[in-house]
Amino acid sequence: MFGLTSDTILIKGPRIIDPGRGVDEVGDILVRNGAILASGQISSDDIPEGCRVVEAAGKVASPGFIDIHCHLREPGYEYKETIAAGTRAAARGGFTSICCMPNTDPPIDNSAMVEFILQRARDEGIVRVFPIGCVTKGRKGKELSEMEELAVAGVVAFSDDGDPVEDPNLMRLALTYSSDLGLPVTNHCQDRSLSRDGVMAEGRVATRLGLPGIPSAVEEAMMARDVALAELTGGRIHLAHLSTAGSVPLVKQARERGIPVTAEVCPHHLTITDEWVLGGQSAGTGAGGTFAYDTLTKVYPPLRGQRDVDALVQGLAEGTIDCIATDHAPHELISKLVTYQDAPSGISVLETALGSALQLVHGGHMTLNALVERMTVGPARVLGDSFDYLSTLAPGSTADIVIFDPDLEWVVDPNEFQSMGKNTPLQGATLKGQVIATMVQGRFVYEDGAVV
């Protein structure tokens, strides 16, 4: 799929935001043979005769987005998502690189599985796919996986996501053992002895609906433990999907003390609250009544309150939280047509991520430049220095580019999703900001509303 093209393409007149180089200017981008030939102010003498010109005036062009946390479901759950469909969804969402979690069936805990994912991505994928390997064999939380074999095969991080690494000693060993591999351990922080049978955020809405609640301490208790273990071992811990106000200062203090901790936050935790469980929010018809118990809002970690949303937005804006990650979790719609307690957790996010995240910019909470940083340079930094090449428009770099219109309004219609997962609480909501085109290694994979 990354076959080099000899075509030369001129992306003409966008606002170029390239946070890694501190660039934010109107200019042109010239792409040839899969790489960036030049970007910025390009003299017309340097533009080859007859090259393809893509008009992008009034749009924004930046390095393609990187998602370090998504679920592609293949193998084992091909009725929910496939690598083919998931990468098409990524392309439509402006992502040029995505990291898929290993909670497949069988899980990605050996090199053969890693090779399967990479081969399938080469055959059927249209964006770059980087597998994440299991921390423990079979994701069972008992013994470490063969982390070095996984690293050699090509995983970019370790995680038992979907489940936490519960045993503190095992987490200590994972951080210690992996420290010479240079890859982070991503933990899904959930103290199950505290979350029990909870299905949504503990609080007024849960109490009113009679749904078992999940207190914030479920996340914060394990994050505090992981910070302590990172300090103890010097291993790199990455904290997945922050959802509570109390998690932000934990990361901030750890960072100030020089502990190797990074963190991500999902678009939904930055923009919508547990009030959405009452239903009727996306369509603006008002909460409560017959529409309550909207299972499309069920996600782990759960949607929380406005205070949490505000703290997460601030944490992202000030850089305490390194990046936005989607936690794209596609499910077949029929699985959501059950009671709230029976419904699986997860939201299909890849195609709404930008529109959701841009609410932070339109709401004046952060600059567009900072947001782009959190979707490009930030996630690349979490993965490690060797991933810088994916998050820059510097001449000579690979041409992974997204062109988007930050002001274009559109109504979310899951039937238009490339993802097989139509499960989004944003159905019918109006988002402001949409991807116009996505280029991977010099080739458009998404353009004019269609996968190429």
């Binding site: 109490t207 009113r208 749904l211 009544g289 309550a292 118990y293 059950v338 009671t339 029976d342």
Partner: protein, 339 residues
């Protein structure tokens, strides 16, 4: 035409009650009932009560209507109460339990609901261990009225309406009364619906019990938005003697043995000592204080036997009134569907 006259003929949509009830398709919880609508139900139940106390308890009002009771949890009184209510009104009542049904073969709740709808049923009365189960049916079934007969720990609106009716019948009013609900409020669907019902009708609701079994989140003032305004007046008091001060109504809730196993309580002994409603503790209540219990009771745990069967207890009256309330709701919903 008066309600009693109307009951003597098969229901015609145009003669059923006026006001908000006429438009209602489902009874899911009391949070979306207006005060006026609650009063309409109570008034209607008065007429039903008259029928219930006749020698020949039968009117043709719902002849040709079909009511299904769909119970995924064990129940004696609620299910029988609905069945009796339907039969007095001449509806055909079909009882369906999860055990022995296609649910045991793995049929989903939604598909069961669609199947029942396809059989031309007018009203489904559902009880389910999961909060919100009746909402799932209400969202996806367009030809059937849904009555919530208890969903998880969320709501039991017909119980709350019968409780309101019983208090109003005995004390003549609801507004300004002090209603104390004692026990495991956190896991009680009866309490949740009663909180809405009594608060909407202007009563002062006080919740009392161990802090581990109180829904503190529901009541924190900062967390109460405008549309939940009735809840803003609800108070919490862990000390039973203080809670009972000047109480007009005391409702003891069933304490399930699992709560101790779940660690919510150190022991039944301590619960009994601190929160059992007894004759002795009613000293500071109103002289006319009413004792209520939604049943089934654990006598000697949440309520003393002498109190449960004494002169202040209206517990059996609650059961009787339950039939009248369910007659009223079945009548309005079943007669209205298809209109």
């Amino acid at each position: 035409m008066s309600l009693l006259n109307a009951l003597e003929t098969e229901a015609q949509p145009q003669v059923i009650a006026s006001g908000g009830l006429k438009r209602r398709r489902h009874v899911l919880d009391l949070d979306d009932f207006s005060r006026q609508e609650i009063l309409e139900v109570l008034e209607s139940a008065e007429g039903m009560s008259e029928v219930l106390h006749r020698d020949i308890k039968k009117v043709p009002a719902l002849r040709g209507r079909v009511v299904v009771t769909l119970f995924y949890e064990a129940s004696t009184r609620t299910r029988m109460s609905f069945e009796e209510a339907g039969k007095i009104l001449s509806a055909d009542v079909i009882n369906m339990s999860a055990s022995g049904s296609s649910a045991e073969k793995g049929e989903s709740l939604l598909n069961t609901g669609l199947t029942i709808q396809a059989m031309g049923v007018d009203t489904i009365v559902i009880r389910h261990p999961h909060s919100g189960a009746p909402y799932l049916l209400a969202q996806h079934l367009d030809k059937v009225g849904i009555i919530n007969a208890g969903d998880g720990i969320h709501a039991h609106p017909t119980q709350a309406l019968l409780d309101l009716y019983t208090v109003k019948e005995k004390l003549g009013r609801l507004e300004g009364l002090k209603v104390v609900i004692v026990g495991d409020v956190l896991h009680s669907r009866v309490a949740r619906s009663n909180i809405w019902g009594f608060a909407k009708m202007g009563a002062q609701v006080v919740l009392c019990g161990p802090s581990t079994l109180l829904p503190l989140d529901m009541l924190r003032p900062s967390g109460v938005p405008a549309n939940d305004e009735p809840l803003a007046s609800v108070q919490v008091e862990t000390n039973l003697d203080q809670a009972l001060e000047g109480a007009d109504v005391v409702m003891a809730l069933r304490l399930q043995a699992e709560r101790q196993n779940g660690g919510f309580l150190p022991s039944m002994r301590e619960y009994i000592r601190r929160w059992q409603v007894t004759e002795a503790r009613l000293g500071r209540s109103s002289p006319d204080v009413m004792i209520m219990h939604p049943g089934p009771m654990n006598e000697g745990i949440e309520i003393s036997s002498t109190l449960a069967h004494g002169g202040r207890s209206v517990i059996e009256r609650q059961v009787t009134n339950g039939v009248a309330i369910r007659m009223a709701l079945l009548y309005h919903l079943s007669a209205g569907v298809g209109a």
